[in-house]
Symmetry: C2
Subunit: 292 residues, 2 copies
């Protein structure tokens, strides 16, 4: 099917972070022919995006945006800002405008935003793509290509506006998958939010041990540790919101993790060679499957 | 100084795993002119190493080795085998032969081996290099170049045989650092063994959750999770030995980690936004320092 990015004529991206910036960049690169409007509290990001042709028009205040020219709003700011933004911009939006997002937590947030935006449609989405870097200046060409885009909405999947949002992501090269908002949050707590928590705790443990023993332990770390902790360099602003918005799943999965780590500790304490071999083999098999 | 690899004429490498194999490979590549003898229980590894010119002579039994031609023995097998090997080969070794190793745990093991090998010198070493792969067939060219080699011995650093072992690693391109055996084990428990434990537990948690909820959670993992768990694919045989040989430090550092992870969980439970921001910022700063 021909690329039409859902037929939207004017796309407003709220928040020119890594995802918002990459979205604008890749819409241009993939041939989107409408206009792209960007808004960010940080004037430098707007200037950067304008200077590099990533957006066509840039703003730092909602009231200055030519709302009549916008028919798709994509919220790409930290999760905590979503409801406030929704309440603020609803009065500006013109009839027929569709709202979507790229947030890492769906669940109750999607339900709340569907309510806030009614009669406009808020259609939740989550591209499974990113890096540990921040800001439009770190935008990545092809970031969404062959990556999953999780559609997570309570609207009917046959709804025409749902289909338009899906088409936009398909035209960016993403593979679309629907997951209901509640299940989405459990899944990504497990495979994304928990790993971030575990990595933050790992680096902080080494920091604490370094202080306690007055040793620069980090200077002894090898390639393994560096890979492992790449995600520990992620944004505090973004991740505190994710942890809090996905609180119940976070607590649940951290507690599962604590149990599984304690099993390993007990195997070591009991010098259970066979048990250790089994434990590590299980991890290894799963890990090798993942490469395959 | 001219490359002479410590002046050894015949080097026996016990265990043609990734490190033993890479050691042989890089001795050849860097211009070592003596002979390299390899022994491994696995005949296939010997055949592979001979066919690919990685070793000059290969064996599967100690009694068949021409011991009079050997003046350096490098033990590169799993930790658990060290003492047994020491007791077995001592009777074969000719006068003046030096013994060293590449094991990830030093501490009491070095002390024990120093005793076992006397009057021969066992000089403990630990190259900070490796991948999660196994076996001579995964040997890596340049693996030790610009990597740390930790000398960890109770012998005087001015001892001539200590200096010869150091020279060998310098000629392979490594940067030498001395750490006493006890401190070594705490440092590498923290920055290497604990991260492995944490990664094994991470993958096993996802495996358990997948089973429990009949969901293939792994299929939703992004690049972050994959990086993070690369080390979770490491060898059960090697890692059970490391955990057990470094038991006290493992239990101590896992318990530190448990405390730090619990802090994060409590911040989430208490919805402590500022505390979360501080916690994540600390991790991020340390992590970014590491790249610098």
């Amino acid at each position: 099917m021909e690329k039409d990015f859902g037929g939207f004529k004017g796309i407003l991206i709220i928040g020119l972070g890594l995802i918002g910036g990459s979205l604008a960049l890749n819409l241009k690169k993939e041939g989107y022919s409408g206009k792209i409007y960007g808004i960010d509290l940080n004037r430098n990001r707007i200037d950067y995006a304008l200077k590099n042709g990533i957006i066509d028009y840039g703003y730092t205040e909602f009231k200055n945006i030519p709302w009549d020219d916008i028919d798709l709003v994509i919220i790409a700011s930290p999760l905590k800002t979503f409801s406030k933004i929704g309440k603020e911009i609803k009065k500006y939006i013109k009839e027929g405008t569709v709202i979507t997002d790229v947030g890492s937590v769906k669940g109750d947030l999607v339900k709340d935003l569907e309510e806030i935006f009614k009669p406009f449609k808020f259609i939740g989405g989550h591209p499974i793509a990113g890096t540990e870097k921040e800001g439009v200046e770190n935008s990545v060409k092809g970031l969404f290509k062959n990556k999953k885009f999780i559609l997570s909405t309570n609207y009917n999947l046959e709804d025409k506006d749902v289909k338009r949002v899906v088409k936009l992501w398909e035209d960016l090269g993403s593979k679309i998958e629907f997951i209901n908002p509640k299940e989405h949050d459990f899944i990504f707590a497990s495979v994304s939010h928990l790993p971030h928590a575990v990595a933050f705790a790992m680096v902080n443990t080494i920091a604490n041990l370094s202080e306690k023993f007055d040793l620069d332990l980090f200077s002894y770390s090898g390639a393994g540790f560096k890979d492992f902790t790449r995600i520990a360099g992620s944004s505090p602003e973004i991740w505190k919101d994710i942890f809090l918005e996905n609180k119940d799943n976070m607590v649940y999965t951290i507690e599962m993790y604590e149990k599984v780590l304690k099993e390993l500790k007990d195997l070591i304490i009991n010098e259970d060679e066979e048990g250790l071999k089994k434990y590590i083999s299980k991890s290894r098999e799963k890990r090798i499957d993942l490469d395959g």
